[in-house]
Amino acid sequence: MITRRFFLKSGALAVASLGAGLVLPSFLQRTALASPQNHNKTFIVIFQRGAVDGLNTVVPFGDAAYYRARPTLAIAKPNSSDDQSAIDLDGFFGLHPALSPFKPLYDAKTLAIVHAAGSPDSTRSHFDAQDYMEIGTPGKKSTPDGWLNRYLQANTNSNSKNEALRAIAIGNKQPRVMSGISPNLTIANLNSFDLRGGAKTSSAFETMYGKSSDDIIAPAGTEALEAMETIRKIRSSFYSPANGAVYPRGQFGNSLKQIAQLIKSDIGLEVAFADIGGWDTHTAQKPRLNQLLKEFGGGISALVTDLGDKMNDVVIVTMSEFGRTVRENGTAGTDHGHANCMFVIGGSVKGGKIYGKWPGLEREQLYENRDLAITTDFRTVCSEVITKHCKAKDLTKIFPNFQAKTDLSLLA
């Protein structure tokens, strides 16, 4: 029998693990909501690895040069009788048709776009560029930690139940952006993140580490065990997304679904990270980009739907290491470029608008005569979210040697 005491003890965790499908008697709902909760903000970073083609993602259909440069690959101007044409946003820009789930978000002013954004370093190496974007110091390779970790270091949270639960990346390997001395977790799958042997083994290790006087390993060990205990509580055999959200099948959808689960469990998650690869479309771009954007758009919109009201405390920022060439190449694709588009989504985002200065696609306006030029540094976008949403204090530690040249005013 579900008692009030049960809910007082486990609070929101209990609600989450039961799944939203269950209808709670109102007194229990109130109880659950009344238990001490951290209305902390969550910042979700989504990385498109491989350099997504921003020009076909948010299409500058109002720019004639776009069609000259891409005779076969360009997305057609918005045309209601052509479902392969761009979805009109503001008369100049449109969305790739596969991103139709973003249109209602744009119209509801939850989704904003920053175009011609990116990392100023000229490298066109995937690895180097991703590295620079994750350590937040374009051009300087020796930075030892990622900018999200520096955010955690510079902004300690005394309310946090477990430091490692402040920041979670979904994946097999800790992304560089999270690397650093501040504890954080990388979880491939909530359902399998555990010690072999489960709670019993955990208990043995808890004795070992909890009472150990070792000051190097023991504290981290204890934290790890506590984090696992929390995750164990969250884990349920079946998580039911709310509000009819349907996540696309595949790893990306799964990652976002787990982030939703973690946010709803109120464990104090401040920073979440997920990535999606496959964007490196040198050849056969049309079908590949179509497929990937479907997954990308479907996943993020499902996440937004699933989180519902919680989106007021969440901001999502998407990024990619660089964009792709303006001109199509000889194998129905595009090559490595420079500027790209970023999506910023959240309850407090001033959406329904495309931010940033559009540099144009004429030859003289291009970067090195081939790529979209950058007019907004990606750090400007991230800085705004970090200061206005996460309420971070010291930006200089997070993005050293960087001064935002513009104030985009992306957030309310």
Partner: protein, 603 residues
Amino acid sequence: MDKCLYIKRLSQVIFTIIVGITLIANPIVSYSLEKNKKATAKYNNNLSANEKALHVLNRLGYGPRPGDLEKVQRMGIEKYIEWQLNPEKIDDQMVEARLKGLTTLSMDPQELARAYPPPALLKAKKEAELKNTGDETVDKAKADKLARKRSRMEINEEDVMGRPGEILMELAQQQIIRSVYSERQLQEVMVDFWTNHFNIFWAKGANKYLLTEYIQETIRPNAMVSFEKMLAATAHSPAMLIYLDNWLSVDPDAAERIDKQRQERKERLEEFRNRRNRLGNGQNNSPFGKRRNLELNPQTNTIQVENGQPNKANKKRGLNENYARELMELHTLGVDGGYSQKDVTEVARCLTGWTIKRDGETATFFFNERMHDNGEKVVLGNKIPANGGQKDGEKVLEILMKHPSTAQFIATKLVRRFVSDTPPQDLVKRVASTFTKTNGDIKSMLRTIFTSSEFFDKENYQAKVKSPLGLVVSALRTADADTNVGPQILLSLNKMGQPLFLCQPPTGYGDTADKWVNTASLVERLNFGIALSQGQIRGTTANLLRNNTVNSVNELIQLVINGQVAEPTIRALEQELAGQEFTKDKSAKLMGLLLGSPEFQKM
């Protein structure tokens, strides 16, 4: 004189002498006693015979296998250390037998490229075959060429784990197998040390095929010989020049000259083609009305599509300072070694022309004098006269070798690895002095470390945290495991944060506790120990408990840890045992706990 008085006097004198001697001797005796006491006090303050043996096995290698502790004590510590310092004299046939299946290790870059073509190339070839328009042979050849060029320079994330990923896997397997089974333990530790010091990221471009050669011929043979030789070998390595972009570095004036010539050549070819077109040969499907040229832009590493007009790149091709900087910052002087930005530029100038000659999918070192800046340079106060050609770079290596900061930096790193996360300065000084005296002889420096009192100081015993590699290997050794080091083990290492040969930044993997102690990594360490002891790792069998019966918690601790553990660990084991019998099953569970104990994470 009176006989009585004489005797009295004599006895007085003798008495005085005796007192005198005593008075003088006392301080001397007590001083030497004191000194002995200090020496023995230091000695006594130090480790027991058992602890010393364990310490040596943990630091000069990857921890003991069953029986190793006794072996070291039988041999004697000093003898064991000397033995390990001369790996060429140690028979290691057993390990070679275990590596037989790893065929890529003996293939040269060309063979590897042929055997494991990048997936992008295969894909592009297929696509080229599918979209055949017009003149079949011409289009196919062009698509082939383009695909080859592109795949050579641009790496798709997916490519990394495609078939060429097998090469990476075998490199990692070799390192682990050797570390677990080789008798030349110290050599394996040094190979790991230098692999990180002269770090190269496997997945970048042609390095997928070049890294095997780099490890087998540049790192391994030099690991315990001469730093000077190793430095030179890495500087001439095509893998290094690609990784740190030096192959692109060119004197800006030379670049302009080369670009101009290239442009002229292109225009002539254009003319020829246009003439051919007018005569109606070949199709022209180019959307820009002209046959497009596909150029590899070496500066940006990508295929550029030209539309027949001169490439008015806003950026001037020129110097790439990446290698020059890391050569000083990470390989020799250290970040505080006393070089300026000007030095970085000057070194970069010296190293222009140190590039590669492409060879299908791979490359070899090639000095291109057309790219070289032949002007006069000044590096760290040393004037390098003009027209030195390749000798400029060689001179730089010489200057760096002789610079006192290099001795200091290398000494610091070695002491940090072998003694303490906070390297004792006095020892560092002595090791640096050895470096200078022996011109960077690695064995000599190691000997200085292992015969030092700091090395055996109790403060430094069990004070370092094992790297994930160290943890995995020491667990396999202490568990007396028979392993083929399959994908599960490599995945585990990845999850612990140390995917071998995939360290992106040139700093390589670190050597201090703060680099390795993090929540996610720890969870994986715990899980690894459990999986190993429960026989849950495919291709790996832990034999320790098969060959030994254990009847008490203390016995098990001795068997697995070879040393002492703290109260909480003992209690955890007893808790787990819960008074039950020591069945094989139970022992295995307890072993799993021990491998995850805080004690076993340290060395």
